[in-house]
Symmetry: C2
Subunit: 130 residues, 2 copies
């Protein structure tokens, strides 16, 4: 009886391989649409990073979720995991060429996201009335 490693049991829920019709936009969303995925990629665009650097750069992420996301992105060929056989362990993550193809997507998202963020009236803003 094959036992799945725990991070294999988690996959983007919308993904349906080889459906009759595949929308390339949804196809991409299924790859990068999980929580934290784009933020991990965003960090790696700044340069190669070690695990604890990612954890520090992404406040709130758990080691479990980080590992799952990294394995997914590695499986999709977007990043490479390099292990240096040292003690204590030393693991480095870096974007592949394929991963860097996401740059225009992430740039476009950044541009629109910033624009909308600045327009948005903050829900937490103090109400002066009353």
């Amino acid at each position: 009886m094959k036992v799945k490693k725990y991070y294999e049991s988690v996959a983007p829920y919308g993904r349906e391989q080889c459906a009759e019709i595949i929308c390339p936009i949804q196809f991409l969303m299924d790859i990068i649409g999980s929580k934290w995925s784009v933020q991990i990629l965003r960090e790696l665009f700044r340069g190669d990073m070690r695990t604890h650097e990612l954890i520090e750069a992404l406040p709130g992420i758990s080691t479990k979720t980080l590992t799952i996301r990294l394995r997914e992105l590695e499986k999709y060929g977007l990043l490479i995991r390099t292990v240096y056989p040292e003690i204590p362990p030393h693991v480095e993550y870096s974007l592949t060429a394929k991963g860097r193809e996401l740059k225009p997507v992430i740039l476009a998202m950044k541009q629109v996201g910033e624009q909308w963020l600045h327009q948005e009236s903050c829900i937490c803003a103090l109400e002066l009335s009353g």
Copy 2:
């Protein structure tokens, strides 16, 4: 006691308003990252659509999910819902100017998505060994 309408009870799970630090990329993902959202927007970029036209254009979506996604996108100001007081009911959805600002994002996603889709070896392909 206020009773939430059922579609108000559903919101993108990653959204945290007014966090100390907000990544504009994640901010955008929280708006368009739910299942079906980008596909709905993709259809509306082709022109205004009625509810049943969207259902036909998005095979697999339920009326419930469609309604929830449409209300979300309307709440974010990305589309407008127009009701024509007729019998039978006639409702039309159209992108707002803000919604159309997503065009470069969706185009970039489409481009990369198509490229990767064509590279991908199909998991369902027959295995010739054995």
